[in-house]
């Protein structure tokens, strides 16, 4: 209160002209290692230099889930942000709430699909499309890749330049790399995978399976391909005991950095963390394939909100286009580890210099032709919750993979029942 009085006082004294431009409110999450807040603020600062008539107010909203809750609360109070970074899988929820606008008018105004969207990596646009419209610009995207510890490979007589490329090789390599004490407990794991469904999806896709329908109303967890994929995963943990059952994203990457696991399947977003923390020689590779080569794409894009007045939406579009420009995406990639979403970003000098020093970073890009949209449905957070809980129960041998996946399928069908028309 006092502050406001002072501000009015100061304004009167200086008789400064009021802010003539447009101010937009920008919610963003930070889901990855380190003070990425600074990197986001740098993008905003660059934007201010290029567009002095627009002021972006960046608001850090926690991680993805918390940022989404913040937006939902703000929506219900009738004061949503003008632009925000949310997950691609949040698209359905945001559309069900009628919260965001399609961006096609802006794309047409600025020169059409080929000119505005042509340079984006196609896989990154695919999951922002619904009903033939584009709903967000891809800002921070990632996929899982295989990290492996070359020093540990050498120690057990594995070729440090031949990471596994198939499921069989993955299992064989993991068996060879697992080191056990006389009691038979693993002291170094052959492989670690966070028990998160984002990675289960990759295994289902690799097995030739599918996860959810393009209209977000159906899931296919009870199908043979999905069950087999989960069977393979649980066998590695429970039958062959070459990997721990449960690991979170943060713990597993720390285990890898500490040399406690020979291989790790994890987000590309951790390249920077591994680079800064690992004291051994390490490499990256595509995820091993089974029937096909595949991964699920994760990450988020920039959504523009419906409730914002027209001039704020216009300003938000300018900011979205700027933040996803090749130059900004190259910087963002180098600073964060998220994959630059523009093809031409990889031809820029700063990016060439970066990938020359860290060739592991290119694996992520080269794997993208095999990337598929992440599983996504109406009521997405509920669906995910059922899937991840059941999956962890399967790992704990409470259900067989078949019984568990069929149970998850049935429960999710109930959640999706209201959306079947």
């Amino acid at each position: 209160m006092k502050q406001r009085v002072w501000m009015v006082f100061a304004a009167l004294l200086l008789a400064a002209p009021a802010w003539a431009g447009t101010t937009i409110k920008f919610y963003y999450p930070v889901h990855l290692t380190g003070p990425l807040v600074k990197e986001v603020e740098a993008v905003v600062a660059e934007f201010h230099k290029a567009h002095p008539d627009i002021k972006v107010e960046p608001v850090w909203g926690g991680n993805y889930a918390e940022n989404m809750q913040k937006t939902v609360a703000a929506l219900q109070a009738g004061s949503p942000p003008d632009i925000a970074v949310h997950l691609a899988v949040d698209l359905v929820t945001l559309r069900d709430m009628d919260a965001v606008i399609p961006l096609d008018d802006y794309v047409q105004r600025d020169g059409g699909d080929a000119k505005v969207l042509g340079d984006f990596i196609p896989a990154f646009l695919a999951d922002f499309r619904a009903e033939q419209k584009i709903w967000a610009l891809p800002f921070q995207r990632s996929t899982p890749i295989l990290y492996y510890n070359k020093d540990l490979f050498r120690k057990v007589g594995l070729d440090p330049n031949k990471p596994p490329t198939t499921w069989e090789e993955l299992l064989a390599t993991a068996q060879k790399a697992t080191v056990r004490n006389p009691q038979g407990q693993a002291t170094t794991w052959g492989l670690t995978i966070p028990d998160d469904i984002w990675l289960v999806m990759a295994f289902i896709y690799q097995n030739g399976g599918r996860t959810s329908s393009p209209d977000f109303k159906k899931v296919y967890l009870g199908e043979t391909e999905a069950i087999e994929a989960v069977q393979f995963w649980t066998d590695m943990a429970n039958k062959y005991k070459v990997m721990p059952r449960h690991r979170t994203f943060p713990i597993s990457v720390q285990d890898f950095a500490a040399g406690n696991t020979a291989m790790l399947i994890h987000s590309t977003g951790n390249l920077r963390f591994v680079r800064d923390s690992a004291k051994f020689e390490w490499g990256t590779a595509f995820l091993p394939k089974n029937r096909k080569q595949a991964v699920a794409i994760g990450g988020a894009g920039l959504y523009i909100f419906k409730k914002a007045p027209k001039e704020k939406q216009d300003a938000a579009w300018k900011f979205a286009a700027f933040a996803t420009s090749p130059e900004m995406q190259a910087r963002w990639n180098i600073g964060s580890g998220y994959i630059a979403t523009r093809k031409s970003a990889f031809d820029l000098p700063i990016m060439k210099e970066y990938t020359a020093k860290l060739p592991q970073a290119l694996v992520a890009r080269d794997q993208l032709p095999y990337a598929l949209p992440e599983m996504s449905t109406h009521d997405n957070w509920k669906m995910r919750n059922v899937f991840v809980t059941t999956f962890q129960e399967i790992l704990d041998e409470k259900y067989t993979p078949e019984a568990g996946m069929k149970k998850a399928q049935a429960e999710i069908e109930k959640i999706l029942a209201p959306f079947q028309k």
Binding site: W60, G62, E66, Q69, Q76, A258, S277, A278
Partner: protein, 276 residues
Amino acid sequence: MRSRTGWRLAVHGSLALAGLLMIVPLVWIVLTAFKERNEVFSQVPQWLPAHPTFANFFGVLDAMPFWRYYWNTIVVAFGLLGLQLVTVTLAAYAFARMEFWGRDALFIVLLVQLMIAPQSTVVQNYITVTRLGLLDTKLAIMAPYLASAYGTFLLRQTFKGIPKELEEAAALDGCGGIRFLWHVALPLALPGYLAFGLVSITYHWNEFFWPLVVTETTNSRTLTLGLGIFAQTAEGSADWTMLMAMTLMVIAVPLVVFLIFQRRFINSFMQSGLGG
């Protein structure tokens, strides 16, 4: 006599051991704060930093308007406590000492509030705060907690413990009602106040989700949100060295306050029956 010495040895020994266990995390925080980043992950844990560095502390100061956040947190935690003390004292006194229709039923309704998880009311509270025009202010962070059911309950019990005779005697001397509260009940209830103050300060010093939702700029953001920048990374690893450096700076104020008032705090917890 001998068995008594043995008993004392056993008691002191186990207490010392428990104390040691409690202090290890704190020591670990201090040591990690001075380490370099790649020293954190080694297969054999290293106690002492190989190359002690202040870089983490400067890193924290560089990553956010740290002192501003510190000020905001102090204002929120201590300001809120001040406001709570007023509401809680008056309510507790009424429930403990005054006769009025529906008093006990009202008290039960108040107690039910203790069972509602604050998270479940976030959206409603957000809407209320927005309509009041308080969004992104320090008052918004305090608003849902201005009347504390826990504090009211605690002080009602404390006031109930004050003998009736004391009140009658005070009334005879012309010190009734609000004056009795100020001159007699308040000083006697001091242990209860200290206990409540400690709980309130700790809770609001540490609170994360509500401030995250309801604040947007450095005007009102608090230290926990700053800490979150280093810790709230569901996908990647936390930035341990910076996190520990900042943790050290964040807990400094509560820690010093606690050390100064240590004896009083412990006494007050014993007297208010909050031990354990």
